[in-house]
């Protein structure tokens, strides 16, 4: 019986993925599939999250949502494509806060995300935790940072790539704590974790699912988000850190100048999808949360990120 159910659901998802579910809604938007640009590569967490929600949202939107991967130049290629697309609501982008708000302070960009793009919804967030190998002497973040302050530059922070989901929060914390560490770039979170295990670097920022699988080989010193993320590990907030944007926020953005009615339709669809059982179930299986934040609310956070990231980049690059 269970098997039959599973089969039915599987077929349903397959169909939804292939065709979408063009329900008989008498609306004029959307009347064709909506393209969702991902400015990141295949197989990353954005890709996986999007595969899940695009397979469900079609039934609430009335049209399928089609993923289009446009990686390159640390997210700039895909973002530029989204900015230059017509503001008709048929091209959206699934991005994160560091591409959206931090990048502009690092390099001169041919677009302005804040002016051109508006948040449809924040889908969920990924809280990172500071992790050291179990045989390191530091039991708390305080102890590690004390060591870092006494030995400027000795502490090695292995992150998952420039201005990415590990580097930016890590650099923010280090800046707030007044610690001067050596930053070592890696090609993704996997290699950075490997460097921690091999002892090539002292600490990294990793996501809870990765940390749990390491068992007692590593120790988490502090984590983003709320205390339920990693029970027993203090959160950055509890330790008194005030920087915002320490977590990776997965956000869906659309053109700011698209009709308000269409923004409303999209936001409603995401809101309804968030209550969908299949969606909840699939995201749980991926180990991701479904803490949705409505677009207008996220816009306020976005403005704060802009200011903080600007200060951070100025501090790090000395510009």
């Amino acid at each position: 019986m269970k098997m039959v159910d599973a089969c039915k659901r599987m077929v349903g998802v397959l169909l939804a993925m292939l065709l979408g579910l063009p329900l008989a809604h008498a609306q004029n938007y959307p009347e064709k599939p909506v393209t969702l640009i991902i400015p990141l590569g295949a197989g990353g967490s954005h890709d996986l999250n999007a595969r899940v929600f695009t397979s469900v949202i079609g039934s609430y939107l009335g049209q399928p949502m089609v993923v289009r991967l446009m990686p390159g130049a640390a997210g700039q290629t895909g973002t530029a494509a989204a900015v230059n697309a017509p503001a008709d609501g048929y091209t959206l982008i699934f991005s994160h806060n560091f591409i959206d708000q931090l990048q502009q302070h690092v390099e001169k960009l041919p677009y302005d995300t804040t002016r051109s793009l508006e948040t449809i919804v924040r889908l969920n967030y990924a809280p990172g935790a500071i992790v050291v190998r179990a045989d390191k002497p530091w039991k708390t973040l305080q102890e590690m940072f004390d060591y870092g302050r006494k030995n400027p530059g000795r502490l090695k922070f292995g992150h998952s790539g420039n201005w990415g989901a590990a580097m930016a929060p890590g650099a923010q914390l280090l800046a707030e704590a007044g610690v001067d560490a050596t930053l070592v770039a890696h090609k993704g979170g996997g290699p950075a974790m490997q460097a921690v295990l091999a002892g090539d670097v002292d600490f990294t920022i990793a996501f809870p699912s990765v940390i749990e699988s390491q068992g007692d080989k590593v120790r988490a010193l502090a984590v983003g988000g709320d205390p339920s993320v990693l029970p027993g590990v203090p959160t950055f907030k509890q330790l008194g850190y005030r920087s915002s944007g320490l977590e990776m926020e997965r956000i869906v953005l659309g053109p700011r100048s698209m009709p308000e009615e269409r923004k409303r339709i999209l936001r409603e669809a995401f809101q309804k999808m968030n209550g969908d059982k299949t969606y909840q179930n699939l995201m749980k299986k991926l180990g991701e949360n479904t803490v949705l934040m409505p677009g207008p609310e996220y816009e306020k956070l976005r403005a704060r990120q802009n200011v903080e990231y600007k200060a951070l980049v100025q501090k790090l690059t000395g510009k």
Binding site: G43, G44, D47, L48, Q76, T77, Q194
Partner: protein
Amino acid sequence: MWESFLEGFHLALRLDTFAMMSVGLALGIVVGALPGFTTTMALAILLPLSFFLDPLVGIPFLIGVTKGGIFGGSIPAILISIPGTAASIATTFDGPALTKKGESRKALEMALFSSAFGDTVSDILTILLIAPIAVLALKFGPPELGAIILLSLVVITASTSGVFVKGLLMLAMGLFFGIIGQDPIGGVSRFTFDLFPLRSGIPLLPMLIGVFALPEIFEAVERKGAALFTSKVPGAEGPRLTLAEFKRCFRTILRSTGIGAAIGAIPGMGQVIAAVVGYTAAKNASDHPETFGKGELEGIAAAESANNAVNGPTMVPLLTLGIPGDNLTAILLGAFIAHGLRPGPTLFQEQAPLVFAILVAMVLANVLFIVIAYLTVPLFARLVTVRKSLLLPMTVVFAFTGAYVYQSDPWDLYLLVFFGVFGYLARKLRFDISPMVMGFILGPILEYSLGQTVSMSQGEFMHFVFVERPIASFVVVATPVVAYLLWRRVARLRRRAVVTASAESR
């Protein structure tokens, strides 16, 4: 250990596991054979499907897609000189020449059997040596990776066909093309001439299709299509692979399997490098290196067994450390987590039978793979026997759509044409294209690991590399020695070729 293995073996013998693995293999072959669609894309799209399956069905299903995809890429590589996935670049060195001789079926069957052999042996090695491989993987940090990449670059360039200086020049051009775009360490744009699309660098697949497939088309146009894709037996797909031919290539297959498995155990290398290094080693070891690149069956065996032999060991860091070594294993990690399994040291302690079951399924997948691929090969082989007036335009269509769907960026089409002309000129001027491609692929990895090593060394670079990293310093010291030995060998072979040529002319 042995008990968990036996238990795992029993777990893997399930009908639905086999059925879904077959579906995965077939899907993988088709997607891999379509130029521009990579195995990674196929895996990402099919991942949610596996959520609804039992772990022992869903994960083997995805493994089937991976295995099928890597073989599938060699089909267009052999038939129309378009690498279906980057892993099959070394297959384009000899495959199309065999197809032109009307031996496409033989070439495809060689690719199939050497792939299956390399895969099976590497999977079995993985089961036997999982613990040592895991230890080895942790020993290879950025300094070691950088040193090995340097060695590979030297070996590939030293064994280039034709004039050595020309090979070096092509290598330098490849390294230059690899520099274009955002610098991976500092994030600064280099050689982009302020053109925004160049910031992301030159994409690999459009470049490969450009340098390998377009020159074939230009040449066909030049000769009015006369010499392209002639099949000696019209309407048939050519002779089959004989046992004697397989035996002749067996040493090469064994060598390539070893090379592929070793490269698979080192995080950050991957199938593309394995294929080219395996090919180069076969050419160096051969007593007739001059036939390589001109339709040598052994070349296909060398490349295909090497790229598939990577499959087994790449699973080790994933299973034992919970760390995916490449995009494919990153998606598999997603599948494991979705099934409530957390790869890593704890998985082995708690679920050893299940891990073994998955490894056993990997071996069994190869048996299914032989059956499925063997049945489909004649169909694919027959494709090139359609009328020449249709095949050539079809190749053009596949080349352009393949380059476009890779990233859906129209800019890639300009780059495709640029590299097509580049490849054509190189061919006309007798420059070997492979050092350029390898420079392009390996250069950025070398640069990245060098940058990482510099930041890790905290200002004491020489001390760090030569005192704290013995493996890296050993490889760095060995590089010039290997280069000298290769150079001497190539020079001796060339002298011998000159002597025999003059003896014959007398």
